[in-house]
Amino acid sequence: MKITVAGAQKDFPGGLTVAQLIELENVETPEYVTVSLNDEFVENGAFTSTVLNDGDSVEFLYFMGGGC
């Protein structure tokens, strides 16, 4: 199935969860990433239970604390 991750379309096996995608994509600081799926936030507690579908679009939003 095709999923758009951070704007780039990629092929993934069916049945992939958000948690598995986070691992496959080597997300930095995965415990603190915010995920939006088709422009809706996915609760952290639902990463393992949220199964992705063909055509989904996922964005990873990262903490950026600097300003110094």
């Binding site: 809706e40 903490f63 950026m64 600097g66 300003g67 110094c68």
Partner: protein, 268 residues
């Protein structure tokens, strides 16, 4: 208020723009913007807002200028090392534009002073370097109904979003609470390209100017991310979180409060 010949000349490149004109320039001259943090983000933002003729600019920072600041904090110069950042910033801003008013607030923002600090300003710019301050500014602005620009920079990356009351998500909608101290690197630990502050801080100034003149689309409901190594800007749509603790349907945060600060971030 009629413009003097000197003002017409100083602001001529603004006045030429149909989106600004004399009317927009008057709005800028009457506007009050508070910049929290006179660092990598606040420095370029303060320079451009001062040059733009934003009539009253507040600048809040408790630090003094350090030699390690000068790689990116372009409002301070080598002779300013050791001087209070707010004073150094004020001197540079007034040298660029003597007709503006610069209010200096030599303090770190905290729960017990932030509501008073932001009161009276039309737009707030978050140029702080730590998560407790970023969440505090968000909560205070949401509670006080003030628009603000959030930004963060690290290494070769930067991002920003704009909050306008009633027009989209706040920072806490996206990031529920600060990561534990030291769990996510800051630019002090991980480094940052000096020009990143210039890029993102200037974009924050741009958002403030657009908000004041009331033209264009703001980054409300969007996070603009910039990756300098890939030379890529992306605008990511942000939903509102209905369960947001401060701007949601049943908020649990009713007053600003302080989070614990990472020890390594307490200096500079």
């Amino acid at each position: 208020m009629a413009f003097t010949n000197e003002q017409l000349e100083r602001y001529s490149r603004h006045i030429l723009l149909s989106e600004v004109g004399v009317k927009g320039q008057k709005k800028l001259l009457n506007a009050k913007v508070l910049i929290i943090g006179a660092g990598g983000l606040g420095a370029p933002a303060a320079l451009y807002l001062a040059a733009a003729g934003v009539g009253t600019i507040g600048i809040a920072d408790a630090d003094t200028v350090d030699l390690s600041n000068l790689q990116r904090q372009v409002i301070h110069s080598t002779p300013d090392v050791g001087k209070a950042k707010v004073l150094s910033a004020k001197e540079t801003m007034l040298a660029i534009n003597p007709e503006i008013t610069v209010n200096t607030h030599r303090t770190f923002v905290a729960a017990d002073n932030i509501m008073e600090l932001i009161d009276g300003y039309d737009f707030i710019l978050d140029g702080t370097d730590n998560f407790p301050a970023k969440f505090l500014i968000n909560d205070a602005c949401v509670l006080a109904g003030k628009p603000f620009s959030h930004a963060g920079i690290i290494r070769f990356k930067g991002q920003l979003m704009t909050y306008v009351p009633g027009q989209g998500p706040c920072y806490r909608c996206v990031f529920k609470e600060p990561p534990p101290p030291d769990a996510v690197p800051t630019c002090k630990q991980a480094g940052v390209i000096g020009a990143m502050g210039g890029v993102i801080g200037s974009l924050q100034a741009m958002e403030a100017v657009k908000y004041i003149i009331g033209k264009g689309d703001l980054l409300t409901g969007s996070l603009l991310t910039y990756d300098a190594l890939k030379m890529e800007f992306r605008k990511i749509k942000l939903p509102r979180a209905k369960n947001c603790a401060v701007c949601g349907e049943h908020p649990s945060i009713l007053a600003p409060f302080d989070y614990e600060q990472a020890v390594c971030e307490l200096k500079h």
